[in-house]
């Protein structure tokens, strides 16, 4: 019994760390392995469940771990969290070991409340702050195609490590929403009688892990703000939808996509064509680092649905191969003023040949006396083969555009 109460910490932590790496790098144990690595976070599991877009083995695991957190305070942090291990290590070699932030209130609790409330509105505002998502995202550097996206993919974890070096446990104790989620859960043990006490119990620097809610009023405000901001963000997303970049297949509606996406980079790593790239600001600050699709040299393969299998939050819906091929990423449109065939530069029919769905045909216009590729929008799913292979140079004559923007 005692042994169970206090299992040896370091071996378990190391084992979990190695397991997390195995799930994420370099070849996953199974196709959706990387999903589990993120869904194990109670924060992600609960919020995506509230948002209602994802359910599966990983979520169940996350809920089981959540349940343990009710019984064992911050159990996840102490035994499982690979980021926790990393930060512990880094804070040891860190510059400052005194907790200058000791009197700061817990920001994490507000993050959790905001996000959970936003989830109910369909827009989990700060879900991307989950440490496991940061951890997962760092592996995306392997497939990054340019310096900016490589930098951005590791930025989260790098930031945490910098915090650990400069300020010790600040992240884990005060900011981390995963940790704060556990605090709420362990607090739930004493519910219903002492809910008020939990929220009132202040951390005075003695307990490193504690709930820093002073009043129910603040909690209530946070929830209200979460719901309000969630709706606002959705409205903003809807308004920008027609200017949004292309999303990977299975992406939910644009108004909720940027919120639900945890930026774990799983889809980017899963894509064999490496066409899923982090958004570097095309869809505004809200969409930063969310996956976008760019057809530079490769396209969305007709025999692949990998990205739809690895999303932990359901921002990319799980689609089978047939459903994926029916999912419309965008629509291909030709700019005839650039087209080699139209301009007589050469006898090009690459878009026709490359289309896996026979959606492009060459149309001969007797009056204009010109041949022009024409896209059948009923067959086109925006896989981008035509764009990827179009030989016109930096600017492709045929490009996939977000549906409804053309």
């Amino acid at each position: 019994m005692m042994h169970w109460r206090h299992p040896p910490r370091l071996p378990v932590r190391l084992a979990c760390f190695v397991l997390a790496i195995l799930l994420l790098w370099p070849v996953p144990l199974w196709i959706s392995a990387s999903t589990i690595a993120v869904q194990a976070s109670p924060f992600v599991a609960i919020c995506t469940l509230l948002a209602g877009w994802a359910f599966g083995a990983g979520i169940i695991l996350g809920l089981v771990l959540s349940a343990i957190a009710i019984v064992r305070k911050r159990w996840f942090c102490r035994y499982i969290c690979p980021v926790g291990l990393l930060l512990d290590g880094f804070s040891r070699i860190g510059l400052r070991k005194n907790a200058w932030w000791g009197k700061c209130p817990s920001i994490g609790g507000y993050i959790v409340l905001l996000t959970a409330a936003g989830s109910i509105a369909g827009y989990p505002l700060l879900l991307w702050m989950d440490p496991l998502a940061f951890f997962s995202s760092a592996f995306t550097i392997r497939t990054a195609t340019d310096i900016l996206s490589g930098f951005l993919s590791t930025a989260g974890l790098t930031f945490l490590l910098l915090i650990a070096i400069t300020s010790g446990d600040l992240w884990c104790a005060r900011i981390c929403p995963l940790g704060a989620t556990q605090d709420f859960l362990s607090g739930a043990r004493s519910l219903p009688g002492s809910f008020k006490d939990i929220l009132k119990s202040k951390s005075h620097g003695k307990a490193r892990y504690g709930i820093a809610f002073s009043t129910t009023r603040r909690a209530f405000l946070a929830v209200a703000a979460g719901v309000g901001l969630g709706f606002l963000a959705k409205r903003n997303g809807r308004a920008r939808a027609d200017r949004a970049p292309l999303r990977p297949p299975g992406a939910i509606e644009e108004d909720e996509f940027a919120g639900l996406c945890v930026r774990c980079g799983n889809c980017m790593r899963a894509c064999p064509s490496k066409i899923i790239r982090p958004d570097t600001g095309q869809a505004g600050i809200a969409g930063l680092l969310a996956p976008t699709v760019r057809y530079e040299g490769e396209y969305c393969l007709e025999d692949c649905n990998a990205c739809t299998q690895v999303c932990p939050s359901g921002a990319l819906q799980n689609l089978n191969l047939r459903q994926k091929n029916e999912y419309v990423i965008g629509e291909a449109q030709l700019d005839p003023s650039l087209c080699f065939l139209v301009r007589g530069v050469r006898d090009c029919d690459i878009c026709v040949r490359s289309c896996p769905f026979d959606a492009v045909q060459i149309y001969w216009d007797e009056d204009l006396y010109v041949a022009c590729p024409v896209v059948d929008q009923l067959k086109c799913n925006g896989c981008g083969a035509c764009e990827a292979y179009c030989p016109t140079g930096d600017v492709k004559a045929i490009r996939v555009w977000k549906s409804g923007t053309v």
Binding site: D335, L338, V342, V345, C351
Partner: protein
């Protein structure tokens, strides 16, 4: 030294010398006469020997060609019908094995669509890793173009593919054919096959200014493009309709294309979400005349035309199309002249041959399928590769594609070989025609040497000889 020759001796030697000289003059004169045979006198000629005439006869409303014996113009071991990319490659490859080769070409130059059709793009030449997978005789032709001024551009710059000058290419092919020592007949249209009672091809019949004549051969390579000879012999084939256009060359074009400036000014893809969006559906943008892309010759562009889908075997359709194409080319030129850089443009040449893409596809011992092409199936009897095109990778071409399913003593080469339409759509391209041509030529020479039928050719030996001629088999 002291001895002086007498007057008599001098007279004697002069006389003998004169006699010897006179004697030697006679064969020289006859030699010159035979070399300059057409030297013939200008003006009215003496009547030749009487020739029996058998004109077609209209009887009961039907036109009947009476049975008649044809003059045998020539007897050869390998007869290649068609002097395009496939035919010239076949004839030159066969000639390398020291068999008697005769090449017959419908037009007055060699190179077929590559020169006369102004299909100047040597594409597809490379695999997905930009490695050149089409070599052999085609590579030799390009190397000969390399040393000519304005002969070829963009060589060895994969994935950009080379563009040749049509006249330089005609010259190179003429030189190669003359050097090879083969017999070549130009302006000679293969119109019929000669078969024996065993359904084996024994030669072909031609129409030229000399009338209807026969050439007998041990093996015939049908590189006519349209499969005219195997169709005439009764081999089964698939009829295809494809786009037929007319390529032209424009002179005095100082910019490659006015749109290039527009391209340079445009920003990267999708960074300009609001600008440059194309209109939905068929374009109605101003088609203000196109000037095509550069050729090796300075100031000369070539302008492609896809053309409408038509029947390349229907003379009425072809004739009407060609007239319409020429009219359209002139109208395009007038529009192009309104653009800066093309004000002084003129049509340097319209292609002598229309761009007939596919007409007949042989039913061969092996029909290369689209699936095999896309999955890159390897063949034991591979005779070469086609380069990668769009998302289809490079693929092997088996020997069976050149051999008719039933007909004997004939090999197909070029765009009329045995393949499914979508595969043939790649096989028809210039460098791929070199590949099938070279293989058919060597196979035909092997038939002669080994006294066998095309379907019995020793394939490992064929592959060995292809490799020796520099071909790429993987």
């Amino acid at each position: 030294m002291a001895k002086r020759i007498s007057r008599r001796e001098l007279m004697q030697s002069v006389a003998t010398g004169g006699l010897v000289l006179a004697g030697s003059m006679t064969p020289l004169e006859s030699l010159m006469a035979s070399q300059l045979r057409p030297m013939a006198k200008r003006g009215p000629q003496p009547p030749g020997p009487a020739v029996a005439r058998y004109p077609a006869v209209l009887a009961d409303g039907k036109v009947v060609q009476p049975q008649r014996e044809l003059e045998v113009l020539h007897k050869t071991e390998v007869l290649v019908v068609g002097g395009g990319p496939a035919g010239t490659a076949a004839a030159l490859a066969a000639r390398c094995l020291d068999v008697d080769v005769t090449l017959v070409e419908r037009y007055g130059y060699l190179g077929g669509l590559a020169t006369g059709g102004l299909v100047l793009a040597i594409f597809p030449l490379y695999d997905r890793d930009n490695r050149q997978v089409i070599r052999g005789i085609g590579e030799e032709m390009m190397q000969r173009l390399d040393v000519l001024k304005y002969g070829i551009i963009e060589r060895n710059r994969a994935p950009v593919y080379p563009t040749v000058d049509a006249e330089a290419f005609k010259y190179v092919l003429a030189e190669m054919v003359l050097e090879s020592g083969m017999d070549a007949y130009l302006d000679c249209w293969g119109v019929d096959a000669i078969i024996d009672s065993n359904y084996a091809v024994k030669g072909a019949v031609f129409e030229s200014k000399s009338g209807r004549q026969a050439i007998l051969a041990d093996v015939v390579v049908d590189a006519s493009g349209d499969g005219d000879i195997y169709a005439a012999a009764g081999a089964a084939f698939e009829k295809i309709k494809d786009n037929i256009g007319l390529v032209s060359r424009l002179g005095n074009v100082s910019v490659q294309d006015v749109l290039d400036e527009h391209l340079k000014n445009a920003t990267g893809p999708r960074d300009d979400m609001d600008s440059g969006m194309p209109a939905r559906g068929m374009p109605v943008t101003a088609f203000e005349g196109h000037v095509g892309s550069p050729t090796p010759a300075p100031g000369i562009n070539w302008l492609n035309m896809k053309g409408p889908v038509g029947d390349g075997l229907d003379v009425a359709e072809l004739s009407r199309m060609e007239l319409l194409h020429r009219r359209a080319l002139w109208k395009n030129l007038e529009k192009a002249r309104r653009k800066p850089g093309a004000e002084q443009a003129f049509i340097a040449e319209t292609a002598p041959q229309m761009g007939v893409r596919l007409t007949r596809l042989l039913d061969g011992a092996k029909k290369l399928t689209e699936k095999e092409m896309k999955t890159g199936v390897k063949f034991k009897d591979a005779i070469g590769y086609s380069g990668a095109y769009a998302n289809a990778p490079e693929f092997q071409i088996p020997y069976g594609c050149l051999v008719p399913a039933k007909l004997d003593n004939l090999l197909a080469a070029g765009r009329c070989v045995s393949a499914e339409f979508l595969v043939a759509d790649t096989l028809r391209l210039i460098p791929v025609c070199w590949v099938t041509g070279q293989a058919a030529g060597i196979a035909a020479a092997l038939c002669v040497k080994d006294q066998c039928k095309p379907r019995q050719v020793n394939v490992p030996r064929l592959q060995d000889l292809l490799l020796k001629q520099g071909a790429f088999l993987g």
